[in-house]
Amino acid sequence: MTELITIPFALALGAESVSATLNSDAAREAWNVTVVISRQPDQPRVDASEVDARLVDGRGEAMAVIERPKGALPEASTSLSSSVNAVFRFRSCQSLPTRLVVTFRGASADFAVAPKPQDR
């Protein structure tokens, strides 16, 4: 199974930081992308409509979204920070994804995507 990482690991987006994990779901011929929005604890819940993700392949084409999150997003927290999770599923194509663009409340973070070092 190919595992991909974003470069950089995280990007600041206003008062928040954004990161993402990407995993291949071979059975469904899909890429699972978990967008993580790190923010100060004890904030109002984030609704799925406030987050969007776009996965772009090596040819520069956006992969089709199979599934996107709905409703209030789950959030894991400590007193240091909170991590809002938004899980997207994209249809796999022959070309590996090379770019991930995350939009949160109108601001965008643009990541490069590459295989994890041990998979290269």
Partner: protein
Amino acid sequence: MRQRIARHEDRLAPQKANSPGGASRSPVPDLGAFFSTAQVSYGNRAVSRLLRASLTRTCSCGKATGSAEQCEECRAKSLDPGHANASGESRATITIESDQDSETAVGARDRSISVEGGSKLTRTADGESSCSVTGKFTDIPSGTVNSTLSGTELGARFNMKGTFSPSIPCNCSCGEYRQYVRGTFERNGATVTHALCGTNLDPTKFQEDCGIFGGTSYRYGYRSQSFATSKFTNPDQATGCDFEGRDFPRLGGSSGDKLEVNLDFQGRLIDTCHGNAVIASSDWSVVGTATVP
């Protein structure tokens, strides 16, 4: 009638910076020399009928004080690691008892002696400060902490409190706290990713507990960073001997979600002046499962 007629305090002036790597060895009046000086000072009127005299010495540097026996140690140890101009003072107190009347005592009390001395910062050859701290937790979890459901959140609150004691004549700046965590948050059987700093929470590998947002990272127990749930007091962030932290790991879901928290924590009081040596530790777990109604 025997009575105390004089109490002479000699304050030893802080010494100038010593040479790097070497302990400062300024003259400290031994009891004999000091006593002799005192006899000269009082000799014409009081000491001729001296019955008993005693000398005590104490050291103080920053917030720390020590007994007479620790005066020499004061001079061999740094006062305030990282601050070359740190200073402190030693105090010698001589008490003379005689059967002279009180008029003599009044006259003697106004006399003073000035003696060079005092402690000064020094560092050992390996670059580590000779200051050190001991410490203990005053409020820290151990064993298993059960998480409970409150509204749509499953979690547990706990405190991380510790107190440090510095070596004489140092302050508590060497003492810090570290927290490490591993484990999982799960919602309906799927992992909810929790970002740390430059990595994510790992199910099996302990990593330093850390949060980052807006370009700033937050960790518990650092002198360089104070925030509402991590700070030093008594007297302040830089040198305070008390650490106070609190944490509230939890997972928020929606109605019908099955939430599960399974985290392991390691809390450590450390001596940053000696390679982050662990001076107190506690391990605990936060566990629980609940379905959001």
